[in-house]
């Protein structure tokens, strides 16, 4: 079976103005390769500014990478002009973080869901109504008629996010990139949205890229987890393997930092990595994690480690292995 989506050595550099004449380069994504199978869920975990959102947007060709290739369904779409991407736009969809800004406040739920159908010239008016109704049922916004006429400001955060999911699914895509879909939803409802996405993803066999900073939800809702640090993937494995046996010092620290509800927590200090992630404008040479790494070696300061398979299905980029 061929992969649904393959990213090959993707680099995304942004130019940013620094004063009148000087521009600096921000290396948001700095050489990432990964592949996603049909119906598979890959979680991309990292802290803010690590480039995970940029990578997701690049996978949707919302950004053209500086270099590297995006291969979707066997076709190279890296440099296709927008006019030749229409088929891809139908097969690949996005779900965004902020349910308050990801839908146009001036459109009704019906208009929001109808827009993709109109743009892709799908169905007659009646057929479209039927598809919208089905999509709303899928995301459990019932009674359907009542929700169709509502404006976003009349919906709760969770309901909006369901509208967003319905919009992403209405074209029956093969690939969805979901960028922090639940981070702005209350803890008690978060799982509900994630279950809904999981259910629909399995029902329609969608390949899912799940972007999150929350490694705990990634564990429960994905087939594989990739950890990103400063524009690079530093480790990739199946969830249980990654969490029980993290290899990269950064992954270890990240897992260590996540609290669990345990009354003994207060009696022990967490092992933390010092400092904050450096700016992607001036990333350190060698391994990008070396200034904060407890196991730093001379080699780490000069030579960048490559992502390699240490055991089956477990990849890590670290000189320790």
């Amino acid at each position: 079976m061929t992969d649904l989506l393959r990213l090959q050595d993707i680099k995304v550099y942004f130019r940013s103005r620094a004063g009148l004449f000087k521009t600096v380069e921000v290396k948001a994504v700095d050489g990432v390769s990964l592949s996603l199978g049909r119906g598979e869920t890959l979680a991309l975990v990292g802290e803010s500014g690590c480039g995970k959102t940029t990578l997701a947007r690049t996978s949707l060709r919302l950004i053209r990478p500086t270099s590297g290739r995006i291969i979707f369904d066997g076709a190279d779409i890296t440099h296709l002009p927008e006019s030749e991407l229409k088929w891809f736009r139908r097969k690949a969809q996005a779900i965004f973080q902020d349910p308050y800004s990801s839908i146009d406040p001036f459109m009704t739920v019906k208009q929001i869901l109808e827009e993709p159908l109109i743009l892709h010239k799908i169905g007659s008016r009646e057929e479209r109504m039927e598809m919208i109704a089905r999509a709303l049922e899928d995301v459990k916004l019932t009674p359907v008629e009542e929700f169709m006429g509502k404006y976003p400001h009349m919906l709760s955060g969770g309901q909006r996010q369901r509208v967003v999911i319905a919009r992403a699914l209405i074209l029956r895509p093969e690939y969805i990139a979901a960028d922090e879909p639940v981070s702005m939803i209350d803890a008690s409802s978060r799982a509900e949205i994630l279950y809904l996405m999981k259910e629909l993803q399995e029902r329609y066999g969608v390949g899912f890229l799940y972007i999150t900073h929350d490694i705990a939800t990634a564990r429960h809702f994905s087939d594989r987890i990739a950890v990103m640090y400063l524009g690079k993937i530093v480790e990739m494995a199946e969830p249980r393997e990654l969490i029980e046996n993290p290899l990269h010092p950064y992954t270890q620290a990240l897992i260590e930092a996540v609290p669990e509800p345990d009354p003994n927590n207060r009696f022990r200090e967490r092992k933390v990595i010092p400092g904050e992630p450096p700016s992607p404008i001036n990333p350190p040479p060698g391994c990008k994690f070396h200034p904060r790494c407890p196991y730093v070696m001379d080699r780490c300061r000069t030579e960048e480690p490559q992502l390699q398979e240490i055991k089956k299905g477990h990849l890590v980029a670290c000189h320790l292995y």
Binding site: R57, D98, S102, D104, E115, H120, R167
Partner: protein, 480 residues
């Protein structure tokens, strides 16, 4: 659309908005009335044509001023006769008599007396003779004036037509013969010897409508009869129209200026002009500003940089001096009103561009726009369907907000003497009032109303803009 209805309800909820809308309705109604009833070339043909206003008193306050003063001032009376009051045939002559009888009960003399003849026809070689009599309440009757209509020219065939193109206007109170007649009257009835030239100095209207009292004259109240007798020497003699004017010391609703122009007429004409300047300028300005703002914000890159630089430069130029310069230099070739509007637009649009641009930048970054791109929406679709609706309420508010600035800018230029002479505006009326020294003499009816109207027009839009503010400003809205 419910968002729109909510916004409308919110707008309508405030007292300020209601007041603004009421004023706007008034403005529009008056303007429509003027547009429907005034000729297009009003400015040149009537307003700036002194002959048209010749029968009016000069620089007098409005009639209602009498309500506020103890001294009752005579109103202006124009009496038009299309038919004579009486026609007699006497020894081969035809006598047309025009009689105007009126009760004069005021504390001040009329400002002048005049008579005009229009379309006089006759066929005898001897031209008709005109005599003007004044019968006073004290039973004195004076023949003020006698003159003949211009006789036939050699070779001219009967019937003879006279005063067809323009009326023959005789200002009675300014005529030397009248002075003599009045001087004779004073001698005969009061035993005063006052030379005709002195009558002229005192003022013929004072002598005619007054009686000597102490050093001067006081108003003689009572019934006066003003008679014009036209004696023709044939049966065809005819006067198309005869007009008698007893010049008042108050006039109409707004008084007159030093040329006798009825200020109410001019001020009314200012309504549609103010609206035209305000709406045209602000509409075009906001359209250009909104489009450049959306393009600059959404397209980015070189286009964006170019628009930004241009805006930055234009915004750093002080507007009024530039307006003066351009209107002065170009105003001789192009109608000044259009120059003013064009320059206002050319130098104002960036102020909208620079506020719309960051809004668009923010909207462009918002996830629903990104979602639309991901769905496969083309650029134009996104700009029109998603971005423009977001900025539209704000742009509309700016349109309203900018309207008074345009009106005020035109008024300022007019006040500096750069108004469009073919289009009398409030600013121009004020300027003539100011330049004629109206402020120093106290012609309040001349300088206050145009200013008040400008304020009225401007405040209409300011009020509406204030009412719109909570609707378009999300920060204020959220506080509720």
């Amino acid at each position: 659309m419910s968002v729109g209805r909510d916004a409308l309800r919110e707008f309508w909820a405030s007292k300020v908005s209601k007041m603004g809308v009421a004023l706007l309705v008034l403005l529009v109604v008056v303007s429509v009335y003027v547009v429907l009833t005034y000729p297009l070339d009003f400015g040149l043909r009537y307003w700036n044509n002194p002959a048209y206003w010749a029968d009016n008193p000069k620089a007098v306050p409005p009639e209602w001023w009498n309500l506020f003063t103890d001294k009752k001032l005579p109103p202006h009376v124009i009496k038009d006769f299309h038919e004579p009051s009486d026609v007699r045939d006497q020894r081969g002559r035809r006598i047309l008599e025009y009689v105007y009888s009126f009760d004069f009960q005021y504390d001040e003399f009329p400002s002048f007396l005049s008579i005009s003849l229009n379309n006089v026809t006759f066929s005898s070689r001897r031209p008709p003779r005109v005599e003007i009599f004044l019968d006073r309440p004290d039973n004195i009757s004076v023949r003020l004036l006698r003159f003949t209509v211009t006789g036939p020219r050699p070779g001219e065939e009967a019937p003879y037509f006279r005063y067809v193109e323009a009326p023959n206007r005789v200002r009675i109170t300014g005529d030397k013969n009248v002075f003599s007649a009045l001087s004779a009257m004073l001698k005969k009835y009061y035993g005063l010897s006052i030379r005709p030239s002195e009558v002229g100095e005192i003022g013929a209207e004072k002598v005619a409508f007054g009686e000597p009292s102490g050093d001067g004259f006081k108003v003689l109240r009572g019934r006066y009869v003003l008679r014009a007798v036209v004696t023709g020497y044939d049966e065809d003699v005819d006067v198309g129209m005869l007009r008698m004017v007893v010049g008042g010391r108050v006039y109409g609703f707004s008084g007159t200026d030093t040329l006798g122009r009825d200020l109410a007429v001019g001020l009314l004409f200012g309504f549609p002009i103010a609206l035209l300047i305000g709406f045209l300028t602000s509409t075009v300005t906001t359209i250009i500003g909104a489009i450049t703002g959306v393009i600059s914000g959404y397209m980015g890159g070189k286009v964006d940089t170019g628009i930004q630089r241009l805006s930055d430069i234009i915004l750093n130029i002080p507007l009024l001096p530039i307006l003066i310069f351009f209107t002065f230099v170009l105003g001789t070739e192009i109608p000044r009103l259009w120059v003013i509007i064009a320059i206002l637009i050319a130098f104002s649009w960036p102020s909208l561009t620079i506020v719309v641009r960051p809004m668009v930048l923010q909207i462009r970054e918002s996830q629903f726009v990104e979602a639309a791109v991901a769905i496969g929406a083309p650029r134009l679709w996104i700009m029109f369907r998603h971005i423009f609706p977001q900025v539209a309420p704000f742009v509309f508010a700016q349109l309203i907000f900018f309207t008074p600035s345009a009106i005020l800018a035109e008024a300022a230029l007019s006040f500096l003497g750069l108004g469009d002479p073919s289009m009398p505006t409030w600013g121009q009326i004020l300027e003539t009032g100011f330049r004629s020294g109206g402020v120093y003499i106290g012609y309040w009816w001349w300088v206050l109303p145009p200013g008040l109207l400008i304020v009225f027009a401007a405040i209409t839009f300011v009020l509406i803009a204030l009412g719109l503010e909570p609707v378009v400003n999300p920060r204020l809205r959220r506080m509720k």
